[in-house]
Amino acid sequence: HHVRTCYNTRTKKSCLSCSSLLEKQYVGFATLPNQVHRKSVKKGFDFTLMVAGESGMGKSTLVNSLFLTDLYKDRKLLNAEERINQTVEIIKHTVDIEEKGVKLKLTIVDTPGFGDAVNNNECWKPITDYIDQQFEQYFRDESGLNRKNIQDNRVHCCLYFIPPFGHGLRPVDVEFMKALHEKVNIIPLIAKADCLTPNEIKKLKDRIREEIDRFGIKVYQFPECDSDEDEEFKQLDKELKVTFSGRTRVKIKTTARGQRVRGRLYPWGIVEVENQSHCDFVKLRNMLIRSHMHDLKDVTCDVHYENYRAQCIQEMTSKLAQDNRMESPIPILPLSTPDVDTEKLIKMKDEELKRMQEMLNKMQQQMHDKDQ
C-alpha cells in the first residue's frame, strides 16, 4: 500500500494544512518519525565515554577538543615518583551540554594511573570491574519492581590511546583491549600523531590493524553506510575502520591565511586540528558524535549488556540447580530442565512419600479387615 503523502523529509514536517486538499490517499502515520524526534528531544540524551591510556597521551585535551569545552579544571598532575606505585583510579565527570535544543548529559570516565606504574600486571582490572559494576547496577534496576527512573551509567564507548612512538601494539595495549573488547565498544586511537609523517602513519595504522586481527581483538565496527550516503563517505569509512590518529590542543591560532583555527604552533608550522590532511580528528568527531553516537549506545545495550546479563543469569541458575529449585532473587524464567542431581533427589523424595502413603493405606486396610 504505497501511499502518497505530503511529508517533507527535509524539513521533517508533515504539511497538515494541505492534507485536506490531498486526495483520499492520506492516512497520516508518516508523521511517526516526527513524533519520535519530538519526544526524544524533549527527553534528552545521555552518553558515557571512557578514555584510557597512559598519562600524557593527550586524553583530556582530546576530550576537550571533541566537546569544545573544558572539563578538567583544577586538575593535579602527578610527577614520576608519585606514579611508581600508582593505582588505577576511575574518575567520572558529568556535564550537561545543549546544542540547538538537544540536551546531552555527557559523562567522561577517566582512568588516571593506567599503565603508569612500574608493575602493570592486570592494571585493567579496576576498569573492567567498573564496567561490570555499571552493568550489574543496570541489571538490578531493570529487574526491580519500580523502574520509573533508571539511570543508565553503562559505558557506551572507550577511546584507547596508543602511543605513536613504537612500532605497533605493546603487550599492555593487547592485554587491555582483550580484557575489554567484549564488554565495551573500543575505538583505538594513535595519539599525538603530529610526530609522524603521513607515510609513517600509514605504516603504523596497517601494522596496528594487522596486529588487532592477529590477536583476535574485536574493536567497534562502524556499521555499513546506507546507500543514500555519499560515495566519498563510504571511502572514508573504509579507511578509518580501525584507527584514527588524533592531535589536539585547545589553542586558537591564526594561519598564514589569517584564519583562526585550533592547532598546535611549532616553529615549522601549525598543525591544524580540523584539517583532514593533518589528522583524523574531524573523522573521529563525525563518526563518534555526529553519526554513530546512537549506534554506540545500541551496541552497548543490545550486545555487551545482553552478554553480561546472560552470563550473570547462567551463573545464578547453575547455583540454583545445586540448591534444588530454590527461588531466584531476580525475576528470571524458571529452569525448564533440572539437572541430573536434582532429578535424582526429587525421585528419592517422591518415593519416600509414596512409601509413607502405602504404609498408611495398609494400616487402614488392616483396620477395615479386622472390623469385618
Binding site: 500500500h1 504505497h2 501511499v3 502518497r4 503523502t5 497538515l16 483520499k24 490517499q25 492516512v27 497520516g28 502515520f29 508518516a30 508523521t31 511517526l32 513524533q35 519520535v36 524526534h37 519526544k39 526524544s40 528531544v41 524533549k42 569544545l68 569545552t69 573544558d70 583510579e89 576511575i90 574518575i91 567520572k92 558529568t94 556535564v95 550537561d96 551540554i97 546544542e99 540547538k100 606504574a117 602493570n120 600486571n121 592494571c123 538490578r140 519492581l145 563525525n286 558524535i289 555526529r290 553516537m293 546512537h294 543490545d302 545482553e306 546479563r309 546472560a310 547462567q314 545464578m316 541458575t317 540448591d323 530454590m326 527461588e327 532473587p329 528470571i332 498408611l360 488392616q366 472390623d371
Partner: protein
Amino acid sequence: MASSDVARQPDKGVRPLNLAGHVGFDSLPDQLVNKSIYQGFCFNILCIGETGIGKSTLMDTLFNTNFENFESSHFEPQVKLRAQTYDLQESNVRLRLTVVNTVGFGDQMNKQESYQPVVDYIDRQFESYLQEELKIKRSLHNYHDSRVHACLYFISPSGHSLKSLDLVTMKKLDSKVNIIPVIAKADTISKSELHKFKIKIMSELVSNGVQIYQFPLDDETVAKVNTTMNGHLPFAVVGSTEEVSVGNKMVKARQYPWGVVQVENENHCDFVKLREMLICVNMEDLREQTHTRHYELYRRCKLEEMGFKDTDPECKPVSLQQTYEAKRQEFLLELQRREDEMRQMFVQRVKEKEAELKDAERELQSRFEQLKRLHADEKAQLEEKKRLLDEDQSSFSKRRAAAQLLQAQSLTANGKKDKDRKNSGFM
C-alpha cells in the same frame, strides 16, 4: 595491583557547560529517527463495540484500505477477539498494524462476563512481552510488540447515556490500556443532541472513576492542539469507504435521500479529529504510555504475585550476591521446616493408627474371650446333654438287655415247658 573500587565524582552534581563551537550532537535525534525508520514501526489497535456498530468500517476509513472483514453474526455464544496484522507503508515509513476486533460483544443474554475475554487478551500480550524480557537470551529490539497500544471503545448512539455494559467494561480496562471512547454512527444524532450526549458521557465516566486516555499536554509543540482536542472527547465518528461526488471531487461519504454525510468534513463529524489525534500527533505517545505505564503496572503486579520484593528489610540496596545468599538461607530454612512438619505429621498419624489398631485389637480380644466362654459354656452344656443322653442310652441299653434277657429266659422257660409237655406227652 590494588585499586580503588569506587568512582569518584569531583564535581558535586551535574554542571552545565557552555560549548565553544558546534560539536554536532544535535544530530542525535536524527540518528534515532533514522534507526526507527530502518526498523519500522508497529501499532496495535483494539476495537470494542457491539456487532454491527461500525468497527471494521471505521478502521478501513482510518487507514484507507480494505482490511479483510467478515460480517459477524449476533448469535455468538461468547465474546471472542479476532486479530489481524497488516504491513502498511506511507512515504518512507513502514508500519506493522494489528487490528483486534471483538466478535459478539453485547449480543449475549448474560453479559456479566463479556469483558473477560478482552482483559485476558490484553494480559496475554503483556505476559508474552514479560516472558521475552525474562528470557536469558532475549532480543527485545527484534521482538514484534503485540501489546495493545490504543483501545477504541464504540459507544452506541442512543443519545442518552452510556450503557451499563460500557461502564463495566471500561472500568475493567482503564488501568490496562489507553481507552479512547468514540460515538459510533454519529450521523444519527443531531448537533444539539450530540453536545448533550458528549457531556453526559464524560460526566458518567468521571463520576465512575473511569480513566480514559488524555492527549498529553507536556510537550509545548502539541500541548495546544491536544488541549483543544481533549475538550471534544468523545469523538463522534462516521465511517465510510464509499465515495460520493460532492462538488467536483469524490469524497468518502454516506449518501442519504436527505443529503450527503461527508466523513472528512469537520462540520459533519469528528473523524478528522480522531485521525489527527490517534495517528498524526499521538501515536508514539500511545505506544510510550502503554510501555511505561500499563505494562509496568502489569509487570509489577505479576512479579509481586511471584514473591519478589525490591529492597531488603533495612531498605539498603543489596548486591546480587547478598540477595541470593539471603534467599538461599530463607529457602533452606523453609525446606527444613516443611520437612520437619511433614515428619511430625507422619509420626502423629502413625501413633494414631497404632492406637486405633490397639483398641481394635483389644476389642477383638475381649470379643474372642467372650466367644470362647460362650463356646465353653455351650460345650459344657452339650457335654452335659451328651452325658445325659449317654446315660439314657446306657440305661436304655441296660433295660433292653434286661428285657431281652427276660424274653430269652421266658422263651427258654416256655421252650422247656413245651419240651416238658412234649416229654410228658409221650409217656
